[in-house]
Amino acid sequence: MIKRIACVIIPNFPLLIQFRNKPELDKTPVVLAKSESNRSKVLYMNIQAANEGVDLGMTVIQAKNVCPELCVLARDPKKEQYSFDELSRKLERFSPFIEEAKPGIAYLDASGFRRTYPQERDLAEKLISFIRLQGYPVKAGMAGNKFTSLVGASISEIYSYTIVPDGKEKEFLKSQSIQLLPLDQKTYETLHRLGIKTLGQFAILPDQEVVERFGSEGLKLLKLARGQDDEPLKPKIFDEEESQAKDLDSPLETQIGILFYVNSILEKQLSNLSGKGLACEEALVILKTENNKEIPIQLSVAKGTNKTKVFIDLLRFELEKITLPAPVKEVKVNIQRSSPLLSEQLSLCQKKEASVLSQIFSQIKRILGNGNILSPQIVSSHKPEGKFKLVRYTHHKDRSPKENRKNKKSDKRHITDLSESAFGFSQNSILGLRLYNPPKPATVRTEDGLVKFIIADSWYGGVVRQRGPWEVSGGWWSEGYERCYFEIELSEGEQYLIFLENPSKRWFLQGIFD
């Protein structure tokens, strides 16, 4: 099958979206900038503003000087994306694969339409008339690759199209302006100085010299100019926002009843999603009680799944936390976020274990609380309680790149600290330490510098053996500490780590060797 791509351009799409809400501005000069501040640059403008002498790239204050009655609007990217998504969904009737390059420009996979549209111009005409019916001005292009179809659409008039026959891309691009290439200002100026004004002039330049002058980016541009754009279409996957509600015959009071109804709704929705090759990442359950109160419960998993049981388990944990003010009369389930369905074989203690942890992490968090799932890290300090830190556990997949960099750094530190003694105090003891953090106050009796008796934490005993003292001090730049550590053994064989704090001369129990 021959690869064909259709490109549709809706000129000034962000401005059109603004006009839809403010039709009164239709005949006044209007510009669209990132924000309404004076330093923002003009990104889009209507014909009235252009007639007044406003130009793209001017700052708002410059534009206002040129045209005092200019109306400046700030862009609303969310609204633009939403409106364009809505249009793209409608275009799915022409092609199942649609790529949104940016709001206002879309590529459609037009391969294999011979049976429905014998001539390519039939498809182009239908496409234009359909978008026109939606209330947008449009122009279209059709070619064997994305760049050529974009050029075709760019040079077309409004409500018209350009079709580039298969294999004729290079020939078509030859006479087009170099400005159609995605160039930065510096490259454009360089090419302009070299006297290169058309794509054809650029295309005949030798590869090596282009790479030497413009780097690998230059080679990409060269390929585009020669009509050899091999970038594949990246179809947009629309989030499935499906909602389903169930009015109950009799109000529900028990947790089991609610789970039962949610289960039946979710099962249907998730099987629908599976059919589309999607998996659910986030679902919202809304319980409407008899006193007309809505209780929203957000259920999210780190990795998309279509297993109803996973969401039901999460819901159970959530329901256990809350008390319902009245019986539930309506249950509503809304799939909020979905992702492509990926199959994965689970197995114990294999390399895939990390991704499994990510999925169950949210469940555990609900039981224990976020701050109680920790990952230990060794850090450099003299105090036993400062020799480690417990950081909140985040799965590698959930971490931001910044966090990952931070973790890499701490991993390096972790490796250097391996050379340090694990205990730092008891080279003679074979036992590991259990740490009391914060240290527990103790009462100690000493004779001639030797620890004889200790009372701490509702127990007491005579000391039969002791090692130490080891002096530890630090933190002079802040509060500061000075401690004398002793390792003591009681008559019953228990071994403790205690310290005398200076200058307060108070004794503390730091830990037990066990």
């Binding site: 039981i367 109680n372 694990a422 228990e494």
Partner: protein
Amino acid sequence: MYPAIKTQIKQLQEQLACKYPQTLIRWNEYVPIPTGISPLDHELLQGGFPSGHLIEIVGSKSSGKTTLLFKILSGLNKKENSIAYFGFPYTFYPPSAQGSGIDLKKLLVLRPKNIQFGLRAAEILFRSRGICVAVFDLVGTNDQISKALLLRLKRSVKQASGIGIFLREPDSTRVQRNQIALCLKVEKLNQKLSVKTEKSLFGKENQNVELVLND
């Protein structure tokens, strides 16, 4: 037994083995997971800790139970095995664990409000096969353990072929003895640790082995 019935049972077993292989595993069958402590693996246990079972390590204060646990965990931790450490209350000292050879990157430390929350979290971790070993440090706690939750944990440990280890002192929280497959009692003898099997479903009971942990 009649030969016809024998053949029928055999046929049924074959069918079951095809459909549900786990149903034919006998209660005392297990795959040993080596602890990495040679005398313990070969003299006391039948090659290692029994996978899919609950194990108890008991010892009085300064008996060396924590040290033994860390040594065992470092052995279990050598492969890709992840460990979840539940502390109630929390006296876990990571430098000590690292000094025993535990890879802290494969260790998840959890601080539940009480034992019941910990058991539920461990059950989820085992069920999803995210971990291989769960340690419940019960030293210094006297809370009761819910029998139902313990049974659920036991089932999930079995399904995941993991190990659940309870570390406790003789006077701290008790775990129902009939749920435990192996109970090790630890005592310190000078520079050695004496480990005794108080209960074992898989080997001889009341066997003793002395370990030198300075190696």
